[in-house]
Symmetry: D2
Subunit: 381 residues, 4 copies
């Protein structure tokens, strides 16, 4: 009997993008076994997906309800420990609530829910349940993002004055949602995506990254959203001004019609004493500038890093880690926390995004949409 943690997956059937990412991310560090799943709202597809994933047939469920209620009955050392929810946005709330209420911990993709009301309700459910909840803001898992956060927290950069953040993609430059492309069709559908398009899909990552690295809250935003795709109703582009709680100012640029951009999340943070720059597409570099010293570039497992960065590097310097590894770090830190909980041990500061980040993300989406409706008027988060 393996003593790894046991994961049940909701969503992520054949042909899914993010389900496969979650599975690989959960597998890398050898702490988690996928033991069951309800991979699709279509029962046949769900079961076929489970088979393709080498699962035991009796752990391939026809629905998430069936899975949660059935697994609940299994022996303590057989049943799943937690669910991973990897469905479109509108299918996060229900399974998350049901899982928490039935004693399962939850890993959930972002944005956390369809509506702000769901987010606040889920926060209450989670509190009551006492179960763990991780939200996969995966980019915070990169060693150089940890280094950036630690540098700001340690005051290396001095007071923060200016921020530039962007998350640019181009895959919705044409009307791919009309071609039957599944990823595009639900993301452009307000019933499945919520009131934000690019805002929810990538804007929340940008918002989360800013607050994670700087340790500062975004105070208010002015958002000018764009809807460039034919017949689209949700934003596929956004240009925002930021004001941070400490007086720092900045810009955020997000887009899914920035033709040619693949997954260009990047951030620059300027302080009174130093500044830093990080690019997701080349994640193994942290570029820093200083008042009196030359440009310094930090690399994973390279010289002069904070422990927070060293701790999350898996392989020696110069062996690039990528998207899956950063994603895996969310799972690893969650799994470490969960193992501790199961062993009645205490983890000082578990480092993964939680339900609070999920609520914050929904507040960001709502503030941006509201600002945009008011011709980019300043709006508090």
């Amino acid at each position: 009997m393996s003593r790894k943690l046991r994961m049940g997956m909701i969503g992520g059937g054949i042909g899914s993008f993010i389900g496969d990412v979650h599975r690989k991310a959960a597998a890398i560090d050898g702490m988690i076994d996928l033991v069951c799943g309800a991979f699709s709202s279509n029962a046949d597809k769900s079961i076929q997906s489970g088979k393709d994933l080498f699962l035991a047939e009796n752990r391939c469920y026809a629905s998430f309800k069936e899975m949660i209620l059935t697994e609940k009955q299994l022996l303590e050392d057989v049943k799943m420990d937690f669910v991973a929810i990897v469905t479109p946005n509108h299918m996060h709330f229900e399974p998350a609530k049901l899982a928490l209420e039935n004693g399962f911990h939850v890993v959930c993709d972002k944005p956390m829910t369809l509506t702000i009301e769901q987010a606040l309700e889920l926060e209450e459910v989670q509190k009551k349940s006492g179960k763990l909840f991780a939200l996969t803001h995966n980019y915070t898992g990169h060693p150089m993002v940890k280094q950036a956060k630690a540098m700001v927290a340690n005051g290396d950069l001095g007071e923060i004055r200016k921020i530039q953040v962007q998350y640019l993609q181009g895959w919705l430059s044409t009307s791919v949602e009309k071609t039957g492309q599944k990823q595009a069709s639900w993301r452009t559908d307000p019933k499945k995506s919520g009131i934000g398009g690019a805002l929810g899909d990538i804007g929340t990552h940008a918002e989360n990254l800013v607050e994670y690295i700087t340790g500062l809250k975004i105070d208010e935003i002015a958002a000018d959203l764009g809807v460039f795709g034919d017949d689209r109703v949700l934003d596929d582009d956004g240009n925002l001004l930021l004001r941070m709680e400490n007086g720092a100012k900045g810009t955020m640029s997000i887009s899914q019609i920035a033709l040619g951009e693949e997954n260009n999340l990047a951030i620059k943070v300027y302080g009174k004493k130093g500044s830093l720059e990080w690019h997701q597409e080349n994640p193994n570099e942290l570029i820093t500038h200083w008042l009196e010293e030359p440009v310094k570039i930090f690399t994973p497992n390279g010289n002069d890093l904070y422990p927070e960065a060293l701790n999350v590097s898996r392989i020696p310097a110069g062996h690039p880690e990528g998207y899956l590894e950063a994603f895996a770090t969310i799972y690893k830190n969650f799994a470490t926390h969960l193992m501790a909980v199961k062993n009645n041990e205490i983890i000082e500061k578990p480092d993964y995004p939680t339900i609070k980040d999920g609520v914050r993300g929904m507040q960001f989406i709502y503030a941006a949409v509201s600002s945009d409706k008011n011709n980019a008027a300043w709006t508090t988060l």
Copy 2:
């Protein structure tokens, strides 16, 4: 007797930054001789500067007025053809007006004047004079900027949807203006700089570059300016939203307190069919993206360029041209035009920034300051 054009310089004495730049830029292509100058409002300093520059002593003047009025009297093939005005902003209008009114052509640094009223008046003076006027928005002189403009003009990118432009410097991160640093002291002084700080010094370059490359006018802006330096009154930072005349949207980020940034002017333009990206600090690359093709990088004198780009490359591919060469291209195109005028020849479309660009820059500064005063309300240029 050399048949080169003869230049007289106003400003740019010993220790000046931009005066030296103008002299080198004017010299590179062998079409212009510096023959006289009023290099400083201090007569002794002016004359010493002229000597250091190997000028004949009788062509080193105590003031720009003396120079213009004296040179006017010289023989046609001796006297200066044009003046180059390289003084702080508040000293552009007067000499430019006097030069034009006395029959001299003008090359002037940017922003064009101290106030919008001066700009409009100068435009009238210039029209009446029939003399040439070049404004040194030098970044438009780069081969890859020419290529970018030509690609947009030829429709390669399709309809433009999104723009990101930034001009980031960090040299005012500390209070250098209090140390007696001359460049900093006049740029932070509204009497010498005007109502815009970073806005005038670098923001106008960003504005000009956007309109030059895209061929689109900025319709309205929302500007959130920052004043971070101790005791400063002028903006040293700005975050702006852009709306273009065709419906494209974008952001502009400018700063002189972006610590560690040297001279980071960069632009991205996204269209329906392609996109492009150019960085001043690495100016010999134009990065482009396409719907169906891989990333393509164009280089000066490389493959597949438009004539507009080929025409301004001086040396073979891989031999980097830089800031001075782009600056020199403004002078070269101005000189070519002026030689043609002197020979009663006609140049089809002289390619250098003119007094119109100068007026436009002032409108941008005024709109940004006004928007900022109204809490970043949308303001038309």
Copy 3:
């Protein structure tokens, strides 16, 4: 009962670098379960390592012999399918031979054996056994390396004329082997490493990459090896000239004393019609040059790729894959082949390095050492 493949590991106990890499690489794609191991020649350490990896205690073995002979007795659907050998070089041959002779397939780290004689003998053993054998030349698993190979194979570059390859590290710049650092101590010890130091550890990767991408054999080499570390006996640096079978020429530079280099494997291949360039530290770019076209950069899952490249990308464009993913592709292709074999299916051209690559690598080491002894005389592989 999982229908995944079952892996037993030899070596790779607590604190190992490459053992952990193999485990993560084998786990990512969800096709392989680690079911047993002999992780150390120290029995206690082996068993503790197995426990830390959540293995069943009865599958943690005291020695590789015990493991192979015991597992052989287990039921068909319980016993391991293959062994992964992740020990220092001198401990590859014995376990590989024993595994093959007892009916187990083998994945083995490189260089394949301690001596050329062992390599040739193992090749015979493997032939007789009919079992699969994969050598983890992991860098050939990168999507952009597959694209490079496909481009050459399809003639896009024309006849190859020139090659530059380098594999540069700096971690042996100081005498780390004297500090008890395990990785350094066995790699600098000829009893454990063989006659090549950097040659075996990284030179074989460079050699393999050249032949993999170009499809050309290295005909002869002239090698000038360096031994810079105090008291070292094995090469820690090498400078080589290459002559390829088709008349192409080139250089190879390898080093473990190239201070500051992390893991800088890079290759350039120049043909009559095009050229390409790939860098391991930024593996998600393939830079190409052409006679008449601009520079083109290919990216995983980007535009215009060959199927060979598309097939190995796991995640969308712009989501960087790294070292572990490329390593995983070796495991994935091996596992796909092995599953087919188990199902009596046929795989057309399994794409992973085999025992032939292992023999070739040993020939390279021996030719280089021999050339160096003869003052860099040309030596045939």
Copy 4:
């Protein structure tokens, strides 16, 4: 009467590449006037070239002999001070000798002469003449090359162990010399180019750069030259091993058939304590690595530079200088020296390449050709 230095040019008529480069480089810093020239062996073409350059007609000469002998007769403050020789290699020796013997200083393009015998003779002539002689190894004029040299000289890198240098171009990938392209035709013609093709044209730059930065002499080389172009007799490609006087080892790769390479001169130098890396195509960065510190990147006029680097930067940090500016620095340092000589002042250590560098370059070419003829046997310079 201008007090600038007066330059006469030999070669560099209409359509020339390098003549134009020399003129622009000499002009940038405002210390030198072009006053006369013998721009072509064709008298008409020479005179027309002079006119196009705005020279007085009586200073446009039909031959270099006429120029040297006529100018010699002019008044001291009218006649040229020095000649710039920008002809093909076979036309360096004669005019240089004549100029020196008639009292003119000399700036000469590289390689210095057609043969080693000419080089040694010219060295004698120059010694006797007491006149200055500059050789335009222009790449040593870059601020970051000066910084590199200063860092090595100050021991920052410790003892040098390994060197990688390359100079790669692709413009001779096809038989352009058969199309009438002038640059290609003389460079591939041994009568005009000498015994080295790429060796002389670019290899000498690589050799010079290595010795300039490291302060070490190349002791011996093993050269495997390639002749890839159809019907070519001179090398268009070379792969070399290097052994430095201090025991350091390295590789040199040069090519003019490295398709797609534009002007890719690059060098890496590895020491016991640090290492550095510089790329001509992106010349405003010096990348350095250290035992205990992160990667540091130095930039012109950036933080923490040696005076040697600061002294040659013309414009503020972030305003890129390029090929012409580095070339101009050779002229500037030569002109500064010459002005001092004319004023009977003494310059401590004039920093520009001299006739010694020219002799060294010829020795390099001869050693490489000899080594290649002996199947890449080690050959002393």
